[in-house]
Symmetry: C2
Subunit: 305 residues, 2 copies
């Protein structure tokens, strides 16, 4: 799967993933009103608004980006109806040829991690038929439980040609509370990074592994260090834009081949229409998002080349 | 919420939680066949079998236990249909007066953690109405992202009278890979435990906090140490039974008041009917589970008193 992601990045010349993390406050009234008229001011109505908003975005940017990253929490907060909108979004992105990174941050012990892996990346066998639950292409995974929490995901990646990104150094202000603590003279995130590289050896495709890492754009020096610790891991980089990461921070996340990282922006793209800079687009969320993608691409490609 | 859990433990004299983590292989043919006849060999059929199995269990044990702990991964692997069965199970347990610990192991940054907290413990406001997504009473939370990943859960706990159990030392074999690494002379899990105690200070109810901890029965010495580091945290103890933890391992997890811990058993109770020891019950899953609860209660109360 990592080579599919690399091909898509090369085809679009955009090491960019758009985070589909919609909140109702980002959705224009014209979309919300239509959904609430049809389904009422209910979880079904709110979930329909998320889905219609996503669809409008995807229709306008699918040809210029390689991948999307829906954050499942934004859907899960609406319960079942929200998760139906999540699934519709995943399927629609696939129809449009996009790679889907499910930002699910799951992680548990052995057979329980296996169930998450099956639900999000694999398929469950019932009788003589196979059914996939959510069918993302990649999933984000939390490493706190160690190898036997992560390996079931890798097994599913290997059997179904999928991939994962393991949380190594997250973009949030308090990520250092545990992740930066020194163990044998090195921060915990470096130990986790070394494990990511080791886990990835069992799932190589060309120069890269299907086991990637999450490292926040907000910590550029740590990103550069982790790049050297995990030469075969693709890095998913959150924290660009609204969280404070800039293009100039990102060079160290990439390898000399110009690959090795994909940078996420959520609010900066999907809520671009609410940004003064893109006010000329009015509430045309798709056109504003498309321009924001072009601007982000220029910022990042300018910085890493 | 922690005082509601304590009252329920005292009423039933059972510091026990039953893990509702069903697999199809644990479900008698008579239940599976009925579900598959009605809904086909589909995710809907499989999810109905999980739900019917849970219902039969709950009907037979609800009066002798304080709480259940459905593991959401077992449902999530069936996609939307599985999550509908999860929600039905939560609601049915509430109807029967049980406290529900959602074993969801979520955790993300700031506003995303808030979305998970809202979806599982709180409610979302749409227009002038409030809707709850999954409505568990407690949720398990992963601490890897630090305070700003955990605090949004605590805020929801405080506003909605709910609780959490933060992963501190998990029961699986490789949990030590990161959790046991020494930082300033103390293992990481002790640092996380100290944070749990600190986080809990903002959510006290009597002697205990709504911020509890997960510590595996498979590590009894670490449990005793963590008990002293987190005097106000209730400990949710997985790993009893099938994973190897015994009643005699558990004394150190409890405080002198006889409280402070609740021990989970999943397979040992819900699949008791498949255990030679309970073969006299045939495929009466409920009667076998009820006897297994009594046996577990005797084992644990005998050890901690």
């Amino acid at each position: 799967m990592i080579q599919k992601l690399i091909s898509a990045i090369q085809r679009t010349d955009a090491p960019i993933v758009v985070g589909l993390d919609p909140k109702l406050s980002m959705i224009p009234d014209r979309i919300k009103n239509r959904s609430f008229e049809e389904f009422g001011q209910t979880p079904e109505g709110a979930a329909d608004a998320l889905w219609q908003f996503n669809k409008e975005l995807i229709d306008n940017i699918y040809d210029v980006i390689p991948a999307v990253k829906p954050q499942i929490a934004m859907y899960e907060q609406l319960g079942i109806e929200g998760l139906i909108a999540f699934k519709k979004t995943v399927d629609y992105c696939h129809d449009k040829g996009l790679i889907v990174i499910g930002d699910i941050k799951r992680g548990d012990i052995g057979s329980t991690s296996e169930s998450y892996a099956i639900g999000h990346l694999g398929s469950v066998t019932i009788g003589s038929n196979k059914y996939s639950g959510f069918n993302e292409d990649f999933a984000t995974v939390n490493p706190y439980l160690g190898s036997d929490g992560v390996k079931p995901f890798i097994d599913v990646c290997n059997s179904e040609d999928k991939g994962i990104f393991v949380l190594v150094k997250t973009s949030n202000p308090s990520s250092g509370e545990f992740q930066d603590r020194l163990i044998d003279g090195k921060p915990l995130y470096e130990h986790v990074g070394a494990k990511v590289e080791e886990w990835g050896m069992g799932s190589m495709e060309g120069d890269y592994s299907n086991v990637g890492a999450v490292v926040g754009a907000t910590y550029p020096e740590m990103g550069a260090k982790l790049r050297s610790i995990m030469p075969h891991a693709f890095i998913l980089v959150p924290g660009y834009g609204a969280q404070g990461g800039k293009g100039s921070d990102l060079k160290g996340f990439f390898n000399k081949d110009g690959l090795g990282a994909i940078v996420n922006s959520s609010r900066g793209i999907i809520a671009a229409w609410q940004n003064e800079k893109y006010s000329k687009f009015g509430d045309n969320v798709g056109e504003a998002a498309r321009q924001a993608v072009f601007d982000m691409k220029e910022d990042i490609n300018g910085a890493i080349r």
